[in-house]
Symmetry: C2
Subunit: 338 residues, 2 copies
């Protein structure tokens, strides 16, 4: 972890703890993807509870709710505890996708294709930001209710810009400061200004890669609505879960586990129909770019025992445990030969 | 305007239009101050309509709604117009206060006094941000529904920090870029990190002064729930509206209009009971600091003919019109002697 520590030290003169984990909360995992702007409340709550459990240093810590706002007209609830115990290792960043928020507005207007000066695109830019920030606020609130000190950080509001859809400017020093202060930044895919095409959509997956490069977390977890990466669409009954993928220095990847001689490297992968920012293919490419840095990436299903183990960093440093269901993507250098 | 133009040019190599106006939308004007987290929908809608009217270059422009999200479970409404006319001079910034949002959470936990590592303060920091960003989202949506291309920009997410409550770091280049792209940034009072006391509340009034110094708008408008600054509490039937105040180079201010020999400089001023960031006194001090720069400041009541004239910049460059009710605060150099 020496490399990680030295990177974080540049953010602040005091020695901060190294970043433990960046979590990508897939839009498909916490929204109802076929119902416009509908949160899957059960899954979201389960995620927040698991994140809190992964952060907890002791098992007895009482949850101190931090959402003191009205919920659907209800009264505000504040715990009576004046100074509750707070025993969480909060050194996490959450980045979420849009799911059934934002995509409709973005694709209806073509925000990702640019041309902000066209009235329809400008309206779509505004409408997309309204939709994704609505989701962001709900996720921040759900985390706060579980006692996770979450703070919404919109990429657009952070001044992040792209150049032909690639990140051009994305200072993360304020994210480092928030982490150092014991807050959990919650970012999201967002509509942003683009230097060449005026505007575009910056996806959560691209944000994850950028933050991983800057902040060098111990591990990265992608939570989605399937167990991981399969050799064919997971709806196919013969689909095989790829448990471990190694990425070499050139970014090429190969399947380590299971050992399947007949498998081509080019596995068939599913892309959600409404996903304008790329589906599983983008995810593997972004995950591979992170693994190349020597950072383990775990892709698994939200709200399962497997996601809790991944969030806790218990999937292991050498070989992936047999009873863990998910896909680990890691640098070829760190993969122990079978 | 030469000074203003040269200042804005530093933001972008292309020559941007000078900033026309920064509007402070007082929390008291758009929330029900005695009802926790309750928006005054009528006043908010009226403000959005007036801002749009002040921006309109032609009177026939059709409103193209830009909020394509569900409102309380309703269906999403998108106008069928493929490429509507868009004839607005959008060169405005909106900064709003918190009103009945945020203040309760901040004062319950003492966020403005610092000490973020205390669990109660940390919870209050999170809760305050949830409350004020909820209000911000609603204001952005209300503006978007009136066809104003609004984008929420949280000071905390922008990485703005304070040092013992004064602004320490607050880069506004991304706000200049948003303006240049024809978007209307909507900022708000926020909980932020403080270099000396860990955290505090950055008020909307302080944000206004900072942005005015950086971006040199033609004029600044403070919209509140009373007509302007009075010589005593406006609930007093003998209260006299101070229509014009001059500020000298040292920041001292004197009442120009009406000419009232008996008036001391130290007018009695009202402060709303729940306002943790300072009331009318702070407002006058911040307004005076802006006026010193040669920028006219108009304080008036939201949702009136007077606020519309102020937003349009029609209050005049020399003497304030007799039929305009409000308080103009301007540099002594620019005040024509009566």
């Amino acid at each position: 972890m020496a490399e990680s520590e030295s990177s974080n030290q540049t953010l602040k003169s005091e020695k901060p703890k190294p970043l433990r984990c960046i979590v990508k909360l897939g839009g498909a995992a916490i929204t109802c993807k076929n119902e416009l702007e509908t949160i899957n409340g059960t899954n979201l709550r389960l995620f927040c509870q698991q994140l809190r459990e992964a952060m907890a240093r002791s098992s007895v810590a009482k949850v101190f709710g931090m959402d003191w706002s009205r919920v659907s007209g209800d009264q505000i609830v504040i715990d009576d505890v004046e100074e509750p115990a707070f025993d969480l290792d909060t050194n996490f960043i959450v980045v979420h996708g849009a799911g059934s928020f934002g995509h409709f507005q973005a694709s209806r207007s073509g925000v990702h294709k640019g041309g902000l000066q066209r009235p329809l695109v400008k309206a779509g830019f505004v409408a997309t930001r309204i939709s994704v920030t609505t989701l962001n606020l709900e996720i921040v609130r759900a985390l706060a209710r579980e006692g996770v000190p979450s703070v919404g950080v919109s990429p657009f509001a952070s001044g992040w810009t792209t150049r032909r859809r690639n990140i051009a400017s994305a200072d993360a020093s304020h994210i480092g400061e928030a982490l150092h202060a014991g807050l959990v930044p919650v970012l999201h895919g967002d509509a942003v200004l683009d230097n060449l095409q005026e505007c575009t959509i910056l996806s959560g997956d691209v944000i994850i890669r950028h933050l991983a490069q800057l902040l060098l977390p111990e591990y990265v977890v992608f939570l989605t609505d399937v167990l991981g990466v399969y050799d064919r669409p997971p709806t196919d009954t013969n689909a095989i879960l790829l448990k471990e993928i190694a990425v070499d220095e050139d970014g090429n990847w190969s399947i380590i586990k299971p050992l399947l001689g007949h498998l081509k490297k080019e596995v068939e992968i599913t892309v959600a129909a409404h996903d304008t920012t790329g589906g599983m293919e983008t995810k593997i490419a972004e995950a591979a770019a992170i693994a190349k840095l020597g950072i383990d990436v775990y892709i698994t299903k939200a709200g399962t025992v497997h996601s809790l183990r991944a969030l806790k960093g218990e999937v292991g440093n050498s070989s992936v445990p047999d009873d863990w269901l998910g896909t680990a993507i890691r640098s070829a250098k760190q993969v122990r030969p079978l």
